[in-house]
Symmetry: C2
C-alpha cells in the first residue's frame, strides 16, 4: 500500500490523496459502500463499477460465521468469491460482536461470544482476527478493537481504549509474521468523548507506526458536537502522512465535517439502509419517495444527479415500485444513494483541489438543509 | 402487428414465426417474462435486454389499481413509465380478479369486484378493460375473459366459455373504435377440460378474426395430460396463420410440449418465483441452490449456460447470498432462470429450423429429467 497526499485545502485541514492498493488506486476522500456479507445489499459487481465504487467494506464477524474462512481459502479470497476486482476493506468485527453477538466476555486475551446465527461459542483474539482477515484477503484489514459503548465513564473509556491499543500491538506483531505487502493493517482509535483519552489512544496507535488509522467508537449515540470533537482530537494526534478512516460515518453533513478535519475514508450503512426505507438523498435534501406528491412526478430523483437511476427513471416510477413493494425499488434506491455519496466525495476532492473546501461545504449544506422528509 | 410463419417442423406442429410489433420484432416461439406491476421482479430494463427479453407482460388488474390509468396517460404509456423500449403484452386481469379480488360478481355486463389493495369496489366490463389497456399502452392487449375454475362441470364450463366469447365480441367492437394499429387484441379460448367446449370456444373466437389467440384456463390445477389435451383441441381449431399464446405456461417441459402443438407465445411466473425460492433451472434438471453441496462449488449454476450470472458467479457465491438472505440472490437467480427459459425457446427455434424439433425435445427432456431438487 502507498498513500500520497496530492492536495491540501487552504483554510481547513481537508486534503486529497491517492491510496494505492493491490486492487486499484483510490482517490481520497473516499466513501466505501458497505458489503457486510460479501454483498453490497441488492447490488452486483457491475452495479458497483457503474456508480464509481473503488473500494467496498466486508465484515470479519459476519464472514467468519458465514460462509466461513474455508470458503474464502478455497476461492483464494473475497475478490474472486464475490467477483469484485476493486479493493476491499474488512472491519475487524469488534463492533458487531458487541452489538449483535450474545454473552460477550472480554478478557485481556480477546472476546468470547456466541454466534448470532446459531448460538455457537467463538473466541476472537487479536491474532485470530488477523488470521481470519488473511483468509478473507481484503486489501485493508483492521485491528480487533473494543468499540466503547456510549455513554461510558472516563475510567471505563480509559480502560477500554487501553485494551484496544494493547490488542493493536498484538495484531501488528501477528500481521508482521505474514506478507505485509498484500494487506495493510489499520489501528483503531477509541477514547469515547474524552479529549485526553482520544489523544492518548491516537498517540499510542501512532507510535506503533501502522499503515493507516481509523477513528472508531463514533456513531454510537453521541451528539454531533461530540462526534466532531472526537474526530478533531484524534486527527490532531495522528500522523499527517497516513490515511485516516472514520468508521461508520456518515450522513452527508457528518462526512463533510470530518473531511474538514483531514479524514480520508468513510463507510456507512445509511445510504443503503435509507434506500430500503425510501429515503433518497438529493442536493436539496432528503426526500421520501413513497410520499404522495411523487406519484406523478416525471422528473428524476435529483436533477443534479447523473447516476444510472436518475438518467432514465422517474420519481413516479420509483414511487410506484416502492409502494408496490417491488424488489427493484430497493436496488434503484440503493444505486442512487450510493452514487450520491460517492459523487459528494468527488465534489469535495474538486473543492480541495481548488483550495476552497470550506466554501463548497457551506454551499452544499445550505441547499441540502432545505428538506428532510420523514 | 404482423405475424409471419418462417419455418415449420417436419414431424410436429411446431413452427417458428416473426411477430412484428410497434416495439420490436419478436421471434417465436417466445417466452415472455412476467412484469405484473410494471416490473419484472428484481430486474431493470438493462437486465431485461441483457437476458434477451424482447417482450414482457404487464397485468391490467394490478396496474389499474396501482399506479392507475392516469399515471400511464400522463407518461404516454407503460413503455416510458418503466423505461422499457421492448414490447409489452397486458393480460386483461380476468385471472387476477378471480384469484385475488374478493366479492366477485359476474353478470352479462362484466365483473364487479373489490380491490385486493383497499377493498374499493370496481366494475370491469369488456369495454372498460379495453379502455384501461389503451391507457397502459401495451403492444398486445387481451380480451376480458372468465378464467374457468378447475374442476368445473360441463355445464358450468360451457356457460363460462360462452360468456368469455360474448365478451370477446364486445371487446373487439370497442377496440375497433380506436386505433387498431397501435395495439393488437387477442381473444382467449376457454372450455376447461372438455373437448367439445375447447373446440367450440376456439372456433367462436376464430370466427371473429382476431389478430391473435390465447389459450386460457390452463395451469389452474388440471393434470399435465389435461393441459396437453386442452392445448391440442384449442390449437386444432385456431387459424394457422395467427399467433397462439398459452397463458401461464410454463415449466420447461410444458412449454416444449405446447410448442409441439404449434403454440408461439408463453408466459409464466415460475422462473421468477422459483428464483426467489432458490430453485434454479439447469440442463441437468432443477437444483436448489441452498442445498449444502453447493456451499463450496466453484462452478457456475449451469455449465451450458451463457447468462450474465453463469459467466461470472459461482454456485458457492449464490448459495452464500441465498443463505445470508441477501437481496442480490433474488436478482441473480431471476436473471439465470429467465435466461434459461429464453434460451430454451431459442434452442427450440433452431431445432424447428432444422426440422428436428421432436428429437431436440426428447434429448432435452432426457437430461433435464435427471434432477428435481426440492
Amino acid at each position: 500500500m502507498n498513500f500520497a497526499i496530492t492536495h491540501r485545502d487552504l483554510e481547513t485541514s481537508a486534503r486529497t490523496g491517492r491510496l494505492r492498493l493491490p486492487h486499484g488506486d483510490i482517490e481520497t476522500p473516499v466513501f466505501m459502500p458497505v458489503g457486510t456479507q460479501a454483498s453490497v445489499k441488492s447490488l452486483d459487481s457491475e452495479d458497483l463499477h457503474a456508480i464509481g465504487a473503488g473500494i467496498i467494506l466486508g465484515n470479519t464477524y459476519h464472514l467468519y460465521l458465514r460462509p466461513g474462512t474455508e470458503v474464502f481459502e478455497s476461492f483464494g479470497g473475497i475478490h474472486r468469491f464475490m467477483h469484485w476486482d476493486g479493493a476491499v476493506l474488512t472491519d475487524s468485527g469488534g463492533f458487531q460482536i458487541f452489538s449483535l453477538a450474545s454473552l460477550n466476555k472480554v478478557t485481556e486475551d480477546g472476546v468470547l461470544f456466541r454466534s448470532s446465527l446459531d448460538g455457537s461459542r467463538h473466541l476472537f483474539t487479536p491474532e485470530k482476527v488477523i488470521d481470519i482477515q488473511r483468509a478473507i484477503g481484503a486489501d485493508i484489514i483492521m485491528c480487533l478493537d473494543e468499540c466503547t459503548e456510549h455513554p461510558a465513564s472516563f475510567d471505563r473509556a480509559c480502560a477500554s481504549q487501553s485494551l484496544t491499543q494493547r490488542w493493536a500491538r498484538r495484531c501488528k506483531q501477528h500481521w508482521e509474521l505474514g506478507d505485509t505487502s498484500r494487506q495493510s493493517l489499520f489501528a483503531i482509535v477509541q477514547g469515547s468523548v474524552y479529549e485526553s483519552l482520544r489523544r492518548e489512544s491516537a498517540r499510542t496507535a501512532a507510535a506503533l507506526d501502522f499503515p493507516g488509522y481509523a477513528i472508531g467508537g463514533v456513531s454510537v449515540g453521541e451528539s454531533k458536537t461530540e462526534m466532531e470533537q472526537a474526530v478533531a482530537w484524534s486527527t490532531a494526534e495522528l500522523p499527517d502522512d497516513k490515511p485516516r478512516y472514520l468508521m461508520g460515518v456518515g450522513a452527508p453533513e457528518d462526512m463533510l465535517t470530518a473531511i474538514g478535519y483531514g479524514v480520508d475514508m468513510f463507510d456507512c450503512v445509511m445510504p443503503t439502509r435509507n434506500a430500503r426505507h425510501g429515503h433518497l438523498f438529493t442536493h436539496e435534501g432528503r426526500i421520501n419517495i413513497k410520499n404522495a406528491p411523487y406519484a406523478r412526478d416525471q422528473g428524476p430523483v435529483d436533477v443534479k444527479c447523473d447516476c444510472p437511476v436518475c438518467r432514465v427513471y422517474s420519481r413516479a416510477y420509483l414511487h410506484h415500485l416502492f409502494r408496490a413493494r417491488e424488489l427493484l425499488a430497493l436496488r434503484l434506491n440503493t444505486l442512487h444513494n450510493l452514487f450520491f455519496m460517492i459523487q459528494l466525495t468527488s465534489q469535495a476532492r474538486q473543492a480541495i483541489h481548488g483550495g476552497a473546501y470550506g466554501a463548497f461545504r457551506k454551499a452544499f449544506l445550505q441547499t441540502y438543509a432545505q428538506r428532510m422528509e420523514a
